[in-house]
């Protein structure tokens, strides 16, 4: 028992630190890698939500674009244009001779 106490007194604090250093570094490394991994996963999930939100928005915009294109085509249908031209603007189909053909 007395031998053990004596040998312990002979070991300095710095030696103990040096012996623990690799373990500490290893722990720090693991912690670092863990933090980076978790952070990246959080970012991936965040970007995933953003992606799905944008995807939804894109689908909605595409749908709106298609609807507007359809509406435009419907508004420009010749039957509608003709009835508007006749009823609201008082226009009529050109009579024979009213069209001037340009020289080339």
């Amino acid at each position: 028992m007395s031998v053990l106490v004596e040998s312990k007194r002979g070991v300095s604090f710095s030696v103990i630190l040096l012996e623990l250093l690799p373990a500490a570094l290893l722990v720090m490394l693991f912690a670092g890698v863990g933090i980076v991994h978790v952070t990246s996963r959080v970012l991936v999930v965040k970007v995933g939500y953003e992606l799905s939100r944008l995807d939804q928005e894109n689908a909605t915009l595409e749908r709106d674009r298609d609807r507007l294109k359809l509406e435009l085509a419907t508004m420009k249908s010749p039957a509608r244009l003709e009835s508007l031209a006749r009823a609201e603007l008082g226009l009529d189909a050109p009579k024979p001779g009213a069209i001037v053909h340009l020289k080339k």
Partner: protein
């Protein structure tokens, strides 16, 4: 005693006791590890598949993204059929506390049958359609009900923005998005594209979470189809045809407009019409594309082919005279009649007054084999090859009996489709060369790659140019006062055409009935035909003659179509009203108060006046130099997006870009005059074929 021994042993030999404890604990840990290892083996190896699929069922979702069905557009890119995503209503019946009141409320708002809906709710455990492809208003009404378990999903729905226009040609698409008829059916594979699946993670709240980037999904979209049809000409044809059918109180009608130089079908109209956006309730025969599917006995319009063939064989000339038997010619037990009796007629007048006897005698001179061969060469008895479903072929039987030969000479006892007839006249108008009639100009993939491209295709030379031109020239007499169709005459353009009034076969009595098919087919302008216009009226009630019921519709179409195509008039009228007003000398003061009546155009052939020449010069000047503040839109098609943007900015225009790659289309069209600072929309596509500029 034993306890005392143990204590004694511990005290005497502490190292050994420690070793025992360590080994014991080691064994315990080893057993635990083995247990964990065994469990891991069971979960990770033995039950791996089952557990993986269980887990994936909870968080992974395979999203099915329906392909966007390709558009169908006319020759100028005007959309005729488009797809838009709309909502469909579904329900999870297990979440409905009381199905009956819920079904009643839903059925009331959506206009469906309560009993049908209840049956669907009872059948479906977790899913049942309530109503598919509903309107935004219906969506709002259903949302207002606030029923548990009701959901909405988006589905593509086909819309036809031009409503009835070319409805029979385009066909229909069912609720499942499959083509049922017309082009929608014929080009189902090209239009439909491929349904894409995409995996997505769902979190505990059911929100979508994409863990992979979105792939470019253009490739799976359906291809778009460009037709040779022209929306404006189609409208003109349908309007005139509908009016003619209504005026004649006819059962149905068909109109075809064809470019004889290329064989392009510019309009295919059928009456009665239907609105493909709401086809429910339309009569069944309104869906039929009569011009393509129906083979009918054409009647006298076939006489032109007999004459052309005889001219080509050198058997007749326009002045060759035939004995027309004073209007009644007996062949065996049958008698051939003419509407107006004539003692004798030359070939030109046989066409002008449409003499059946004269045509029969020309056919007799030509002979059976040559007549049938001529009809075959004009394209009759074989499908035109438009690629549409149920395309008619028509039949030209070999005329063994003399009366059959005579009947075939005036278009009875054989059948042809309206498209075949128009193409046959197209051959006459095209100096004797038959062009294949075609409808699909281009099928373009979603990324701009052209999959199918149509071209004008020469089928064969049918008759010599001289024979064709002579026939066309003789047919001009048909629209003269003495001809059968003076109502087809145009003021500014020379018309060459032929009437037809055919008897219809009664399928029950197996003979000819008193019903008629009246038709008129014209080539305009006669000196260099740009259009062949055919109008067929089925079972007219007011009058039965083609010159009376079909010719006015032809005139209406041609009068509007030729100026639209910028075809120069064959003859110029004395005073174009608008020009006359601008250049007329000022009226005397006494007359100034009176409103000057617009001068009525006169159908006279005169040379251009000085005023007209001046007007030409003025309009030329206007069209060459844009007014201040306006700018002409440059042609950007086919060039890169970046270059297009800088060109537009340089021209004081604002670019609006959709997509990436090269410019596939632009709006407004190249050459249009717009105000500076106007927005020009560019549709870009990544793999664009070289665009002809």
């Amino acid at each position: 005693m034993a306890l005392r021994d143990l204590k004694h042993a511990k005290a005497n030999n502490p190292g050994r006791w420690l070793s025992v404890r360590v080994r014991f604990l080691g064994l315990v840990f080893l057993a635990l590890l083995l247990g964990v290892f065994g469990r891991a083996m069971q979960l990770q190896v033995r039950e791996r598949q089952k557990l993986t699929s269980l887990a994936q069922d909870q968080y992974l979702r395979e999203l099915e993204i329906p392909a966007r069905r390709g558009d169908i557009v006319d020759r100028r890119g005007v959309p005729l059929a488009q797809s838009v995503e709309v909502d469909s209503v579904w329900v999870d019946p297990s979440l409905l506390p009381e199905p009956l009141p819920a079904a009643r409320a839903l059925a009331k708002e959506l206009g469906i049958d309560t009993q049908d809906l209840l049956e669907r709710l009872e059948k479906g455990k977790r899913f049942a359609w309530v109503k598919r492809q509903v309107t935004p208003l219906e969506v709002q009404k259903v949302k207002a009900l606030d029923l548990p378990g009701v959901g909405f999903t988006r589905e593509p729905k086909r819309f036809y923005p031009q409503r009835e226009l070319a409805a029979q040609v385009l066909g229909l698409v069912g609720t499942e998005g499959k083509g049922l008829d017309g082009l929608e059916l014929a080009f189902e594979d090209e239009l439909s594209g491929e349904v894409a699946t995409r995996s997505s993670v769902r979190d505990a709240k059911g929100r979508k979470l994409f863990t992979e980037g979105r792939e470019e999904d253009l490739a799976r979209h359906g291809a778009s189809i460009s037709l040779t049809l022209d929306r404006h000409l189609q409208y003109l044809a349908e309007k005139a045809l509908t009016k003619a059918v209504e005026d004649a109180r006819a059962a149905a009608g068909t109109a075809v407009v064809l470019d004889p130089r290329t064989g392009e079908l510019l309009a295919i109209a059928s009456a009665p019409r239907f609105n493909p956006n709401a086809p429910q309730g339309a009569p069944k025969d309104a869906f039929r594309d009569r011009a393509v599917t129906d083979a009918f006995e054409p009647g006298s319009t076939f006489k032109a082919f007999v004459v052309a063939a005889a001219l080509d064989e050198g058997l007749v000339t326009p002045t060759t005279t035939f004995d027309c038997e004073n209007g009644a010619w007996r062949i065996g037990r049958h008698t051939i009649n003419d509407t107006h009796p004539h003692a004798s007629l030359d070939v030109k007048h046989i066409l002008q007054v449409s003499s059946n006897i004269g045509a029969a005698k020309i056919a007799q001179k030509l002979g059976r084999e040559k007549l049938v061969d001529a009809y075959a060469r004009f394209g009759f008895g074989e499908r035109a090859g438009l690629g549409l479903p149920s395309e008619g072929r028509g039949v030209v039987p070999f005329p063994r009996a003399d009366v059959a030969l005579a009947a075939e000479a005036f278009g009875q006892g054989l059948t042809a489709t309206a498209v075949q007839l128009a193409a046959g006249y197209g051959a006459l108008a095209n100096d004797g060369v038959l062009m294949r009639p075609w409808l699909v100009q281009k099928v373009t993939d979603a990324d701009g790659v052209v999959l199918i491209e149509g071209h004008p295709q020469e089928v064969r030379r049918v008759v010599s140019p001289q024979a064709a031109r002579t026939t066309v020239a003789m047919l001009e007499s048909v629209v003269e006062k003495e001809g059968t169709a003076p109502r087809a005459r145009l003021d500014e353009y020379r018309v060459s055409g032929k009437t037809g009034t055919a008897q219809k076969v009664d399928p029950v009595a197996k003979g000819y009935s008193d019903k008629r098919i009246a038709s008129f087919i014209g080539m305009v302008p006669a000196e260099a035909p740009r259009l062949v216009i055919l109008v067929v009226i089925d079972e007219p009630k007011t009058d039965v003659y083609g010159g009376l019921v079909a010719a006015p519709a032809f005139k209406e179409i041609a009068t509007a179509a030729l100026p639209y195509l910028a075809v120069k008039p064959s003859r110029e009228l004395e005073t174009p009203p608008s020009v006359a007003r601008a250049d007329a000398p000022k009226p005397a003061k006494a007359d100034a108060a009176k409103p000057a009546p617009a001068p009525e155009p006169k159908a006279a052939e005169l040379k251009p006046s000085a005023a007209l020449a001046e007007a030409f010069a003025r309009v030329d000047a206007i069209s060459e130099t844009p007014a201040e503040g306006s700018v002409r839109v440059p042609d950007l098609r086919g060039i890169g997006g970046r270059e297009a943007i800088s060109t537009l900015l340089g021209a004081a225009l604002v670019p609006q870009v959709n997509g990436s790659g090269r410019v596939a289309s632009q709006s407004p069209a190249p050459g249009s005059l717009v105000v500076e600072g106007s927005r020009v929309t560019l549709e870009l596509a990544s793999a664009l074929p070289a665009h002809p500029r």
